[in-house]
């Protein structure tokens, strides 16, 4: 029994020492080269072209489709933010079409 415990202690020490040694050494960082998955989701239905042509260059459709129902005023503010702050080059007619689409499909009616 004592011999078994001693053997166990030796095994434990043999395992722990290299681990401790490794922890003290600086981590060897390795170069990374990866691919990101792409989304093929598109907006559908009347007026969807304005979104597919203007929104998907910067973010996938899921960002919009996962939003809750929001008022037209909130959707207008979101589209304004994309244009004025995030500098999305969206023509005025398209911006109006985008807001209409969002208020129609993701609107809360007020």
């Amino acid at each position: 029994m004592t011999r078994k415990m001693l053997a166990l202690a030796l095994v434990t020490a043999a395992v722990l020492i290299p681990l401790a040694g490794r922890a003290a050494a600086p981590l060897q960082l390795k170069s990374v080269n990866v691919d990101f998955p792409q989304s093929d989701r598109m907006f559908a239905g009347q007026g969807a072209d304005a979104l597919n042509n203007n929104c998907l260059a910067c973010h996938s459709a899921g960002m919009v489709l996962n939003q809750p129902a929001l008022t037209k005023a909130v959707w207008q503010a979101e589209v304004n933010k994309m244009i004025q702050i995030y500098k999305a080059p969206i023509a005025a007619a398209d911006a109006a079409a985008i807001v209409d689409y969002l208020a129609r499909t993701k609107g809360s009616g007020s």
Binding site: S31, V32, V34, P37, P68
Partner: protein
């Protein structure tokens, strides 16, 4: 009060039993039906709560897909029941801009330190790693974690509770890097910039700033490892700022540029975005005007039950185990209390190992429901500054800083 989202259609209790019997998470996961891993319902009020489970992001396991590009990936809530530290391949992901380098050469990478300093620096990763190594356990939580539970709902990343994680961060003190460059008198802030860029060139670069005293406090770190391994690219490889006790918006990923400023930072992401009402719990009424907004800053305490999902069946009149995680925010966890009678009485939970004041802390307790039928389990964390989670959910237009006492409805029978 709110409910926790249901996560996978797989009871944590059942899974835990499986784990106890086979002693292997891998086996338990393999035993789950494939359909259970394809979609998740986050049970967001008013919907939509359905999200796919994505397994095709590099260096990542099964994650809740909030947005493909730029990636927003949420940690499935069951992960928080498995360990006090969140595995790197399950750690949530949040990017602002879509142009993210997909390759980083560790020999060519350089970290610039410039601005109001005596010496400009261009540090290789080896240079960074030659500085004294420090290690710290800390929670990284998105400012908008749990935004999807705000009522009325607000626009933004519609997260459930999984835009958070806890890791052991290894790296160097920001102070040591700044000392090498020599901060000049009159410096007021330090600005951090990463390698990500917007598709539209005129869009504001994602940059964040900290006050000079905060940056040099010896706790703010530049991490090159999390949980003993290099960071996944999507979590900021090769270097990420770690700002213990502060919201993740400051934890700039793929950090390659540090600029010491002799004037307050007026860039959009520091000055305008990520601001909260300057009110208790960052709470205002919808539509309220005349509110002063300030940059979001310190984390606040939160706690969650991780082994019982919303709507679970539990036995009546039988002591039942509840366990979970808590964090104190900018201070340690002093106590975690659980109520099974709607908050009339509270019992102290036993706390697990203390991994440091910025870490998740596990807790557990046993509760007994006196009768069959509907009940609600509440859990409340109080931190070492004696700050406790509030009874009422906060509201603000950006959906930031939720930390209401969480309620988990259960059915006793």
């Amino acid at each position: 009060m709110s409910t926790q989202p249901s996560d996978f259609n797989r009871g944590s209790l059942t899974r835990r039993l499986l784990l106890g019997q086979v002693g292997s998470a891998g086996l338990a996961i393999a035993a789950a039906p494939a359909w259970a891993q394809t979609m998740v319902d986050l049970a967001l009020p008013g919907g939509p709560g359905e999200r796919p489970i994505a397994t095709n992001f590099p260096q990542k396991g099964a994650m809740i897909l909030q947005r493909t590009r730029p990636p927003l990936l949420e940690t499935p809530f069951e992960v928080f029941d498995q360990d006090v530290f969140t595995p790197n391949d399950r750690f949530y992901v949040r990017w602002h801009w879509a142009v993210i380098p997909t390759a980083v050469d560790v020999d060519k990478f350089r970290l610039a330190v410039r601005g109001h300093v005596d010496r400009m620096l261009s540090l290789s990763l080896k240079d960074v790693q030659s500085l004294p190594q420090v290690e710290l356990a800390a929670v990284n939580q998105c400012s908008g974690n749990s935004r999807g539970f705000f009522q009325p709902r607000v626009a933004g990343g519609e997260w459930a509770n999984g835009a958070m994680g806890n890791a052991r961060w290894t790296g160097v003190r920001l102070k040591d890097v700044l000392d090498r460059a020599g901060v000049k008198a009159g410096a007021v802030q330090v600005r951090f910039n990463g390698m990500d860029e917007a598709v539209v060139p005129d869009a504001p670069k994602f940059m964040k700033s900290l006050a000079i005293d905060h940056a040099g406090d010896g706790e703010v770190m530049i991490a090159y490892a999390m949980n003993g391994e290099q960071l996944p690219l999507l979590n900021g490889f090769p270097l990420r700022l770690v700002v213990p006790g502060w919201y993740s918006t400051y934890w700039v990923k793929m950090l390659n540029d540090i600029e010491v400023l002799d004037r307050p930072d007026d860039n959009y992401w520091t000055k305008t975005a990520y601001t909260i009402p300057d009110t208790p719990h960052a709470n205002i009424k919808p539509g309220e005007t005349g509110v002063t907004f300030v940059p979001i800053n310190r984390l606040v305490p939160r706690s969650f039950i991780t082994n019982i999902r919303a709507g679970a069946k539990v036995p009546a009149r039988t002591p039942t185990l509840a366990r979970g995680i808590a964090f104190g925010g900018d201070a340690g966890v002093a106590r975690v209390d659980v109520s099974s009678d709607g908050g009339r009485t509270w019992q102290a939970a036993q706390l697990g190992n203390d991994e440091g004041k910025y870490s998740f802390r596990q807790w557990e307790t046993r509760f007994t429901l006196p009768s069959s039928g509907d009940h609600s389990l509440l859990v409340r964390c109080t931190n070492t500054n004696k700050v406790a989670q509030p009874d009422m959910a906060n509201w603000n237009p950006a959906g930031f800083m939720r930390n209401v006492i969480e309620a988990t409805p259960v059915v006793a029978g």
